[in-house]
């Protein structure tokens, strides 16, 4: 069973609808309140990155089912400027916008699986999965 949906990120308020959608889905999947907060926060970070750096992109939600576990897969992709140094953005405290620099490494810690693909000038795709415990 695969349920797929998406939210486009163009304005700051789209971030709110993106994470509300994620929270709804997480609730339906049976995540606890702490994990719901983690997922919503992770989506918030990813959506904000799209809004801040790429200006236009979208977040996809997918329910994934394996033999003995279920989870939510969040994919954030954009056609923005891309990331120059993939190693550095995963360092805590590195930010090009004067923020805290905890966004991407934070998402990695909030979720179970994390994957970052980016090419300068072509865009960025972040995939993150959280399994229901």
């Amino acid at each position: 069973m695969e349920i797929k949906s998406c939210v486009k990120i163009r304005k700051e308020w789209d971030i709110v609808s993106a994470r509300q959608m994620g929270r709804e889905m997480a609730k339906e999947l049976g995540f606890g309140t702490v994990d719901q907060a983690r997922i919503a926060t992770a989506i918030s970070e990813l959506a904000r990155n799209i809004y801040l750096y790429a200006e236009d992109g979208q977040i996809d939600y997918e329910v994934i089912t394996e033999v003995n576990r279920r989870g939510i897969k969040i994919t954030a992709h954009d056609n923005g400027p891309g990331i120059e140094d993939l190693g550095r953005v995963m360092e805590d405290g590195y930010s090009t916008s004067g923020g805290l620099g905890a966004g991407l490494p934070g998402v990695k810690r909030l979720m179970n699986h994390f994957d970052l693909q980016s090419e300068p000038g072509k865009g960025t795709t972040v995939t993150a999965i959280k399994w229901v415990r």
């Binding site: 926060t41 918030s44 970070e45 805290l100």
Partner: protein, 287 residues
């Protein structure tokens, strides 16, 4: 509008209207408007078509159309009622004129199209404008209402102030929080400010960053900012994100925060029960 076409349209206005009403009624099946009572729907349609015909002779008389649009908006009918209605009206009218007129030459045909367009387009434009104006008005009112709610500052007692935050914090609001906070600290001469985030659904790095900046600014003007209302799940996400909040005090609830605020300002809450007990003791001993 050329006299010939005008005559055709006006003389047969009943037929055109009847055709249009039929088409609209056909469209309505399984539509958004199906919950509206048939009576109301039909009378509105008739009013609509009368307004359209009236605009042939008085294209500048917009008051009637405005009133009609206002009524539709108040009824809560969708904009597509008006746009769909006028599109099919255009189609019906062109069809009718073509069947009535004898010559169907290309030049004539395109002339008819232009004439009908010139007639219907301004009506569409006017009604759509009125609709969007109405929406913009609603949105701006709501924005204003939201702004009023966004960063209230409550002086609870001398030197202690509380700022309860409820709902999502975006960049605009973060700015207001900072401004109101600093202004309020100066105005109320506060020593301690309690920032309550019980009602903030998600604390991500941006929100945390703004909170940290606001607390730092409060510290610079000589007051203490205590962050209260950190729910357990928010505490865990903050730790996961790796946000360092060790530089300023935090408490789980407003109550605990208020207690430490009292400690900072060298005060405490005294239970009056004890003193009344003492009084009764004294009175008892006097007996």
């Amino acid at each position: 509008m050329p006299e010939v076409l005008r005559r055709i349209v006006l003389e047969h206005s009943d037929e055109v209207a009847a055709k249009w009403l039929k088409e609209i009624a056909e469209k309505r099946k399984g539509d958004y408007t199906s919950s509206i009572s048939t009576e109301l729907y039909e009378s509105t349609n008739r009013e609509f078509v009368n307004n359209i015909f009236a605009s042939i002779d008085h294209p500048d008389e917009i008051a009637k159309l405005d009133a009609f649009a206002e009524r539709i908006i108040n009824l809560g009918w969708p904009l597509s009622y008006i746009t769909d209605g006028l599109q099919s009206f255009r189609r019906v009218t062109i069809d009718f004129i073509l069947t009535e007129s004898s010559s169907v030459e290309t030049v004539e045909f395109s002339k008819i199209l232009t004439v009908v367009d010139d007639w219907v387009e301004p009506i569409i434009k006017q009604l759509v404008n009125q609709y969007s104006g109405n929406w913009e008005h609603t949105v701006s009112l709501q924005r204003l209402a939201l702004q009023e709610l966004s960063a209230p500052l409550i002086p609870v007692m001398e030197n202690i102030t509380i700022m309860p935050l409820i709902g999502t914090i975006d960049t605009e609001r973060a700015k207001q929080i900072m401004e109101n906070l600093l202004e309020g600290v100066m105005k109320h001469n506060s020593e301690v400010v309690l920032m309550d985030i019980t009602g903030v659904p998600v604390v991500d790095t941006m929100v945390a960053h703004h909170i940290i900046q606001a607390a730092e600014a409060v510290r610079l003007i000589g007051a203490t900012c205590i962050l209260v209302g950190i729910r357990p799940e928010i505490a865990q996400t903050i730790v996961n994100l790796g946000i360092d909040l060790s530089n300023f005090p935090t408490k789980s609830s407003l109550r605990k925060g208020f207690q430490s605020a009292l400690e900072i300002t060298n005060r405490e809450i005294v239970n009056l029960d004890n003193s009344t007990n003492d009084m009764t003791d004294i009175l008892d001993s006097l007996k």
